[in-house]
Symmetry: C2
Subunit: 471 residues, 2 copies
Amino acid sequence: MSSTRTERPTPLSGFPELLPRQRVVEQAVADTLRATFELHGFASVETRAVEPLDQLLRSGETSKEVYVLRRLHAPVDDASSAAGLGLHFDLTVPFARYVLEHAGRLDFPFRRYQIQRCWRGERPQEGRYREFTQADIDIVGRDELPFHADVEVAAVMAAALSRLPVPPLRLQVNNRRLVDGFYRGLGVPQDRTPEAMRAVDKLDKVGPDGVRGLLVQQVGLAAAAAEQCLALARIVGTGPSVADEVGSLGVEHPLLDQGLAELLAVLDGASAAGTDRFTVTADLSVARGLDYYTGTVFETRMAGYEQLGSICSGGRYDRLADDGRTTYPGVGISLGVSRLLVPLLAAGELDASRSVPSAVLVALVDEESRPVSARVAARLRARGIPTEVAPSAARFGKQIRVAERRGIPYVWFPEAGAAAAADQVKDIRSGEQVDAHPDEWTPPALDLHPRILARPPGGPAGSPTAEEPAP
Amino acid sequence: MSSTRTERPTPLSGFPELLPRQRVVEQAVADTLRATFELHGFASVETRAVEPLDQLLRSGETSKEVYVLRRLHAPVDDASSAAGLGLHFDLTVPFARYVLEHAGRLDFPFRRYQIQRCWRGERPQEGRYREFTQADIDIVGRDELPFHADVEVAAVMAAALSRLPVPPLRLQVNNRRLVDGFYRGLGVPQDRTPEAMRAVDKLDKVGPDGVRGLLVQQVGLAAAAAEQCLALARIVGTGPSVADEVGSLGVEHPLLDQGLAELLAVLDGASAAGTDRFTVTADLSVARGLDYYTGTVFETRMAGYEQLGSICSGGRYDRLADDGRTTYPGVGISLGVSRLLVPLLAAGELDASRSVPSAVLVALVDEESRPVSARVAARLRARGIPTEVAPSAARFGKQIRVAERRGIPYVWFPEAGAAAAADQVKDIRSGEQVDAHPDEWTPPALDLHPRILARPPGGPAGSPTAEEPAP
C-alpha cells in the first residue's frame, strides 16, 4: 500500500499481461475449464508457489530454468536465506509433493484440478513465457490406479477443450507400452529403446531417411527393424483401423497388445467429445512424452498454430509420487492456458464484447440526484444485473459515450429532474429508447454478461461473430 | 511433468496450503467477492507476479520483506540475472504500474478488482504469511477523481464483506483531512502532524497517559492541545453523532469541515450494507493509514479475531501513480483473504459440506458395465449435476462408503445387471432410496453444490449450521 511515482514503465519480456477485455476472455476460459472439471467431480487444489529446490531439481532437465528466491537483505551467499526455495515450473511436481504431504487426509483415488501460474526462467518466445498459467487434471491412486482413469482424464479434458472458443484442436494419443512392446517384438534390446524413441522423434526435423540412418548407425538396428519402427511411427487414425495397421506390420508381443487395447479405449472415451472443431486421433509418432510416462501419452495441436507445439500434454505415471513406503500412480493432462490464449489474443482471434462487467450505465441528471441514480443501480443489481453509475453529470451525449467506450450496451435515464413520467432505458447500439422500471426491466440474456467474440475463419481481426448484434 | 520420489515432505512455515474441503470454502469466498465486484461494474485485472526491484523499493518501509528472483544457474553476483525482479508484496504497487503502462488503452475513471497472491519474506505468525491472497478494488482517475469514488469503494467492499460467512466484522472509517484540519485548527505546526498522529496511534499500547506524555514531551504540544488530540481519537460513532462530538471539541478549520463531511458521506454509503454481523463506524483513532493516505482511511476488525489486526484496509491516494506528465488519483480497499480465512479454517469455524464437487456417485454393478454407469453420469452432467462414477466395482456397501468419505450425498444404482426394473438413487444421509431416471431426477438445490458450514456461536468445531440437514 504505497503511492508510486515513475516514468511510464515498459513491458517485461516473457511476462504477458492482459488488458481488461482480454482478461474477460481468460476468465471465461478458466470458468469453462472449472465448470467442466467440477461437473466430472474433480476437486480444486491450489498449491503454494514455491517448492524446496531439491524437489524442483529432481527431474533434472528443467533445472536450469528455475527461479530461486532470496530475501532482499539476506547475504547473497546465504543459501538458507529463503530456505532454498524456488518458484514451481509446472503443477505436477507440486501436486506430487501435495499428495505425499497430505496423503493421510486425502481420499484415493484422488481426482483434482489445479489452475495456477508457473514460472520458468527460459528465453521467451511465442507461446513460451516466463510466467504462464496451466490448468491440470490428475487422478492419483494409492498403490494402484485402474486403467480406466486414463480414459477418464482424456474424456474430461476433451470435454473441456471442445467447449473452448479456439481454432480446431487435435488431441493426439499414443501409448508407451504399445511402442515398448513393438520394439521388444522386433528384438530391439531394452536398453536401446529410449535411444530408438529419440531417433524416431526427429522424424519432423530430419525426415524418414534421416531417422532410418540414426536407427541403423547410432542405435544399431537392422535395416528391416528400422523400417518397421518408421512404419509404426507413421500410423495415424481415429479408430480400429489403427489396430489393423499395427497388426499388418506383423510384430507380436503381449505388451504391444496391452498398449494397443489401452490406446483404443482412450480414443473411444475421448472421442465422445469430438466435433468438427475437436478431433481425437491415435498418432504413433507422438514420442516426446514416452521418455517419462509409462503408458498413455497425450499431446494436442491447434490448427494454424502448429508452431506453438503441444498446447495440452500429459500421460500415465506408474509412480507419480513415492514416499518410500507407498507408491502413488497417477495419470494427468495439463493445458497451457497462456500458451493457448496469449497468441490468440495477440492475433485478435479472440475478443470480448465489452471491457467491463456492467450491462447498464445509469446516467446522472445532475450531481445532486446521484442518490436517485444510485438507488436505480441498486435495484437493478438486486436482480443480478451488473450496473454502474455514470462518473459525472456531464451532458447525456457525453455519458452515452462513456458507456460506448466500455461497450456497455444500455444507458438508463432516471426520471429525476426530467419531464418524462417514467425512467427510460436506451440500447445505445440500436438507439431504441423505452420506458422501464428498475424492478422489472431485464436485458436480453445475451447482453447480461460480456460475451466472447471469436474471429470467424478468414474474418478481420476482432470482428464480431455471426451471432453478435452489430454495434 | 516429471515423477517425484521422496520421503514425506513437511509443511513450509508461512506458506499455508488448504485441504480440498477448505479450498471449497476459499473458492466460495472468492466467488462471492468476484460476483459482488462485477455486479458493481468492476473489471477484473491480473498483473504479473514480479515487478522491477526499483518499483518495489520506492515505498521504503516494506523493502526488507521483498523476495528477489535469481535464475538458478546465473552467477550469484549477477544482478541482471533476473533483470532485478522481485515478487510483489501487495496489489497496489503493481496496479499503479499497470495503470501507467497501459494508460493509453484504459478508460478513466477505471474501476478494477484484483484477486491474487502476494509474497513477503517476513516472519510468519497467525494471519501473517509469506504467501497470501489479497482481494483489492480500486477506482483510479486521470488528473482528477471525484470524491464519490470514496463512497463507492466503501459501499462495494461493505456489500462484499456483509455476504461472507465469517464472524461479525466492523468497518472503521477515518479521514486524514479531518485529522489534519483538527490539528491545524489546534495550532499544531504542520511538520509535527505526522509525529502527533504516530503518538496517538500508540493509544492501545501505552494508554491515554502515555499518549499525553508523548504529545507534550516529544511532539511539543501544550497540555490542552494534547488533551484535545486524545479526545478526538476517542470519538467512535455510526452517524451524525460523530459530527456533534467533533463539533463539541470547539476546534475549527475548513479542512476539518471537509474531512468530516467526507467521513459522514462514506459512513452513509457503506452503512446500507449493515447487518447485525456487519457494522460500519467512524473511528477517529484509526491512524495507521493516515501517514500515506490523503483523505478517507479504512480498517476492518473481525470479532473474536482482533489479534489479526485489520483484515481489510485502504483509503484515498491523491497520487496513486504519476508518470511526470499526468497524475492518477485513486481510492481503494484491500481484503486480506488469507489473513481472514486461514485462521478461521484452522479453528474449524468454517468448513464445507463435502470435499468434492460431486452431488452423485454412480455405482458400478460390475467392471464390465462401466459404460452403463458412465452413460448415466453423462446424462446427469448434461443437466448440470456434478457426478462421478465409482472407482471400482466393489460391493455396494463399500461403494456407498466411498461416497460417504467424500460427503457425496447421493449414490445412483443403474439397473444394469440388477433385478430392479428401473435405476434407483439413494440419499445416503437418510437411507431413503427411490426409483429415478437419469434424464429427470434432480437433487434438491441445496445439495447440488458443496455448501459452506459456519460454526454457530458457541458450537463445536465443524458442526453443521441450523440449515444443514442432519447427516
